[in-house]
Structure formats: structure tokens, C-alpha cells
Symmetry: C2
Subunit: 145 residues, 2 copies
């Protein structure tokens, strides 16, 4: 079961609502907004560049802080690339995983009752509680082959 191409297309209307329960400041809104201009994973630094390039003046530290807020509140997904950097992307609400293209970064959100069930079962079987898991699938997408 996969959600057929929920490609998470960019949304258009800029947001004006509070961000992660904090104050809806210019900067936070700016960050929240760039996040909706792309559908794949970007590093904090890239996001910062996007902002400054588009004229928004937001400090790097603030970008990191905001991204963390958003991540904590579940508004964005975080994944660690193979070299340990964190990459962010706004995400839909449900729990899911990602199929990421190694060369272009194109991402497809995938969902799998199968895995969820499996991890829970495995964990329980070994007496582990409070289960959480991370699963990323890497490959080369059709366009990049």
C-alpha cells in the first residue's frame, strides 16, 4: 500500500497562522512558507539560502530554531542523509516513510501498514516498549537512470 504519488506539491497561499504554537513572527512565517515552495528534502542551510536569495532576511540560527520547532510539532519531516546532515521537508500529517532519489533528491512519500505492523511485532517480541522507527529507502529514480 502506497499513496499513489502524493508528491506533496507546493502550495500557493502564504501562511499567516501561528507556527508550532509559538509566535507567528515574520521569520517563522517565512520559513514555513519556503517549506511549501518545494516538495523534496532540503538541508537547513539550503533553506536559509532560499530565504536570503528571495530577499527575506532571516538569520541562520533562526532557521535552525524554527525548523526544529516545526519538526517537534510534527509539521515537517526530518531525515538524516547518509553523511549525517539533517534534511527537512513539510509533511503530511500521517506517519510515513520516504523513497528518495540518490542523485536528484526527488522524494515520494510512502506509507506501509506492513512495516508498521512488522516493527511493532518485532519489538514486542523482544520486550521493547515505546517503539519508534526510521526507514528511508534510497534508489535512483526513473528520470535519473
Amino acid at each position: 500500500m502506497t499513496n499513489t504519488e502524493p508528491k506533496t506539491e507546493p502550495t500557493t497561499e502564504p501562511r499567516t497562522t501561528p507556527v508550532a504554537g509559538g509566535r507567528p513572527t515574520k521569520q517563522r512565517l517565512a520559513v514555513a512558507n519556503v517549506l511549501s515552495t518545494f516538495g523534496d528534502f532540503r538541508s537547513a542551510q539550503e533553506i536559509h539560502s532560499l530565504l536570503t536569495d528571495s530577499g527575506e532576511k532571516v538569520g541562520l540560527a533562526t532557521v535552525y530554531r524554527t525548523l526544529q520547532l516545526l519538526a517537534d510539532s510534527g509539521e515537517v519531516d526530518v531525515l538524516r542523509t547518509e553523511d549525517g546532515e539533517a534534511a527537512y521537508r513539510r509533511c503530511s500529517d500521517s506517519h510515513h516513510h520516504h523513497l528518495v532519489c540518490r542523485s536528484c533528491g526527488a522524494t515520494v512519500e510512502v506509507e506501509g501498514p506492513t512495516v508498521e505492523r512488522w516493527t511493532k511485532a518485532i519489538a514486542a517480541e523482544h520486550g521493547y516498549r515505546d517503539i519508534s522507527h526510521t526507514l528511508e529507502i534510497f534508489g535512483t529514480c526513473a528520470a535519473c537512470s
Copy 2:
């Protein structure tokens, strides 16, 4: 299907065979050997400490280099902790995943045809090739609950 507690117990006899195709130097053997004194994931720095504490004089850079060699040749597993650090552990040959205890680090190797099959299917379904994936399950083990 899980391999029932393949806890990867420490092995006893020190190794003297080549390491990852390179020269079997004192340092490399030393690293390869500490790796077999524990069964859970340790950071490169921890491994370095273990070495120096036990009297072995191996440079930190060398530990990193060796660990990378071993990882490339598939002799050790690498996983990224949630804060982006790399953790290493010698591994059995087969492809598998880990169930890691959040508080004590106890690790259980798990294996799952289910997931393997699932990821392959998903990927193919979206036209991705050369699939690889990472899956880590985190939880609190029985002893730590």
C-alpha cells in the same frame, strides 16, 4: 521472522588476518579486535577511548579511517544516531536491521523478508532502481523499562 537473540556476543580469539583488503597493521587489528569485545553500537570516539584505555596507542584519525574501511568492505555496520553521529558495530554477513534500546543501547539484530520485499516492491512501483534502505527501530528494552 527474527533471528532469536543473535546477540552478537563478543568473540574471544584476537584476529590476525588482513583487514578489509589492506595491510593488517597493529592498529587495524587493534580496531578490528575491540569491535569484537562488544555487541552494541559505539561511536568512533568511544572506540578510540576503549583502545587507548586498554593501552593500545592508535590515533583517532586512524580509528576513523579503519572504521570506514571496515564499513566499506561490509565488515561492520554503521548507523546514524538521531543526532547525526555515526555508530559502529561488527556485523554478521547478512542484511539486517537493528532494534536499539534508547537508554542502554542494547541492540538486537533483526531480519525481515517482509520489509525487504516491501521496500523492493514500493521502489519498483515508483520506477526507482538500485534500491537500498535503512531501517532502525528504537525502543526501551525490558531491562530499562
